[in-house]
């Protein structure tokens, strides 16, 4: 260990005591390998046990530890002190979400949006029987949706999306990417149902293509691309609808 230290400022909020959030400073031993999450664990174990944050896997796959690091949405376990040292690091709960407490946000709206887009295979007719074996799906067919199936539901993209910040009704990047993942899966036949969600005002058309969602995504999901592709589909739907009155 070294004797070097780094200053970490956390935006605290304790709903039972505080009217509004306030910054608190901590001095943490600096090690280049140390992640922001490990710094938080150090603070909780040794400096102030009331500091609260979510975490679990430590390897950027469970999606628990999203937070703002110097105003940029990051996973705490995948951001390292070495990239900030010797400057001070400012931590805050994910933007655009209500703060439950300290670095913990209320995820309810985000989860609800994931639930609403029918994120499961809707088969052609009856379920394929297990004895018939697996569906055939070539690597090419997988490639069509693979990227959009990598989302870990960390919420960084909602935090990066000013449109979601301004209007919470917007379905939002991660949910739309997940929707695209199922619409583009060769085993699925539920596109028509999901396009109703896509075509709404709060669907893809609330997106103004800021594109920051894809920049902050820690898993390369590229939700902005998913949304643009859905816009193309939505436009096709609209045109076809014009010439095919029911």
């Amino acid at each position: 260990m070294t004797d070097k230290t780094i200053e970490i400022e956390i935006l605290r909020y304790r709903p039972e005591q505080d009217e509004k959030p306030f910054p608190q400073q901590f001095e943490v031993p600096y090690h280049p390998d140390m992640s922001i999450l490990e710094a938080l664990q150090y603070i909780k174990d040794h400096l102030d046990s009331t500091v609260s944050f979510r975490w679990s896997c430590r390897m950027a796959i469970c999606g628990s530890c999203g937070l703002m690091v110097n105003n940029i949405p990051k996973l705490g376990c995948k951001a390292f002190l070495r990239d900030y040292y010797p400057q001070k690091v400012k931590l805050e709960a994910l933007a655009n979400f209500p703060i439950e407490r300290d670095l913990i946000v209320v995820m309810d709206d985000f989860i609800k949006k994931l639930e609403e887009i029918k994120p499961y295979i809707i088969p052609e007719s009856d379920d394929k029987c297990l004895s018939e074996g697996t569906y055939k799906q070539t690597p090419e067919q997988m490639e069509k949706y693979a990227k959009f199936s990598m989302c870990i539901n960390c919420g960084l993209c909602y935090s990066a999306c000013p449109q979601y910040g301004l209007d919470k009704n917007f379905t939002g990047p991660a949910a739309l990417a997940l929707l695209a993942r199922y619409n583009r899966d060769s085993r699925d036949a539920g596109s028509a149902e999901r396009m109703k969600i896509v075509n709404q005002e709060q669907g893809v058309w609330s997106c103004t293509f800021v594109g920051y969602c894809s920049v902050v995504c820690p898993k390369g999901v590229d939700p902005a691309a998913a949304i643009q592709l859905l816009k193309v589909e939505s436009s096709k739907d609209y045109l076809i609808g014009m010439f095919k009155p029911d």
Binding site: P162, A224, A225
Partner: protein
């Protein structure tokens, strides 16, 4: 009784100045105001043309006013910026696969630039003729 009291941070009007990425986005979107003005001036020119040669010439000479020239340079600059940002975003809206692999984004962007150059040269040639 619940002791929860989720704190909703408000989004201030200057949110787009806090992050360079948002600022660039706002300039991209804001460029549409200048481009609208430019289109109105052009439309005005067409209207003047319908009123005869004299009216049209007056419109043309008004365009040569330094303020007008500065304005047009500014519009050109911002239109170019808008174009470049859109070109760089273009791969996101393209759904092309070659041999099962998604088409390389750089090729899509390059395609846009090539088309842009060809279109510009074509327009220039037409004007020259």
């Amino acid at each position: 009784m619940s002791k929860r009291k989720p704190y909703q941070r408000e989004m201030k009007n200057d949110w787009w100045l806090k992050n360079i990425f948002y600022s660039r986005y706002m300039i991209r979107e804001g460029s549409s105001i200048l481009i609208t003005l430019y289109s109105l001036i052009l439309a005005w020119g067409v209207f003047r043309l319908s009123q005869g040669a004299e009216a049209f010439n007056a419109w043309l000479s008004a365009l040569q006013h330094p303020v007008s020239i500065i304005f047009h340079l500014l519009v050109l600059l911002i239109a170019l910026y808008h174009t470049l940002t859109w070109f760089s975003l273009a791969p996101k809206a393209v759904d092309l696969y070659i041999k099962g692999k998604p088409l390389d984004g750089r090729l899509i962007v390059a395609g846009h630039y090539i088309t842009f150059v060809i279109a510009t040269v074509f327009c220039l040639v037409i004007i020259m003729l």
